[in-house]
């Protein structure tokens, strides 16, 4: 009986590990560059980049470091 319980637990653990191993986020940014062209000095300008998650797990943006 103990062997059966142990085997079941191992099977569940392996199944969870395998399924979580395959689920992953995948960040896709269709437009990775933007050219503002001519811009006056001492201005604040902005551009919106769209980020898509094409994976099958939640994508978390952990950090954005200014370049």
């Amino acid at each position: 009986m103990r062997k059966l319980i142990f085997a079941t637990l191992v099977l569940v653990a392996v199944t969870l590990a395998v399924s979580s191993g395959f689920a992953a986020p995948r960040m896709v940014i269709p437009e990775m560059e933007f050219d503002f062209g001519f811009v006056p000095q001492n201005s604040e300008i902005s551009h919106v980049f769209w980020i898509y998650n094409r994976g099958d797990d939640t994508l978390k943006i952990e950090k954005v470091v200014p370049g």
Binding site: M27, F36, G37, V39, H47, V48
Partner: protein
Amino acid sequence: MEIIFSTKSYNQKVSKRPRITTNEGPPDKNVTVSAEIIQRPDSTYPIIIRPYKLDISQFSDKVRDKMKFTIVNSSDSEVTLNLVADLPNVATIDIPEKIGARKSAGGEVKLLPSALDKSFEKSFTIEVVTGEATTRFTVPVKRTLKAPGADTTSQKAEPVAH
């Protein structure tokens, strides 16, 4: 993701590459923004935008929700204008499709009702096509609202009787 770039007193071509770290793991990804920062926006070619910065600030209760600007074609040929980046969720932008040689035409930025109670600094970008050449121009748009409770009306001190 909105990238905000302050041009400060940079001069000439500048590129910035913010780095994005996610739970996807390495390598991190970069996006790139580049700009040709100019000291004399009143002398650009093939167009000149007047004013070159739009300030739709509102310092009284009178609603200010739009601003007109002029685009001058300083070249000797007709130019075609395309709006390549607008002001999503903030304003609509109206620009002419074409401007004849040495002619000028008007444009307008009109704030959306949902943006009237907001202060912001954003921009829109126009692409100008002359023959086979394309040139981009980015116009900063700023809106500052009167601080809550601030009284901006001019007040004179009442004379005090002694």
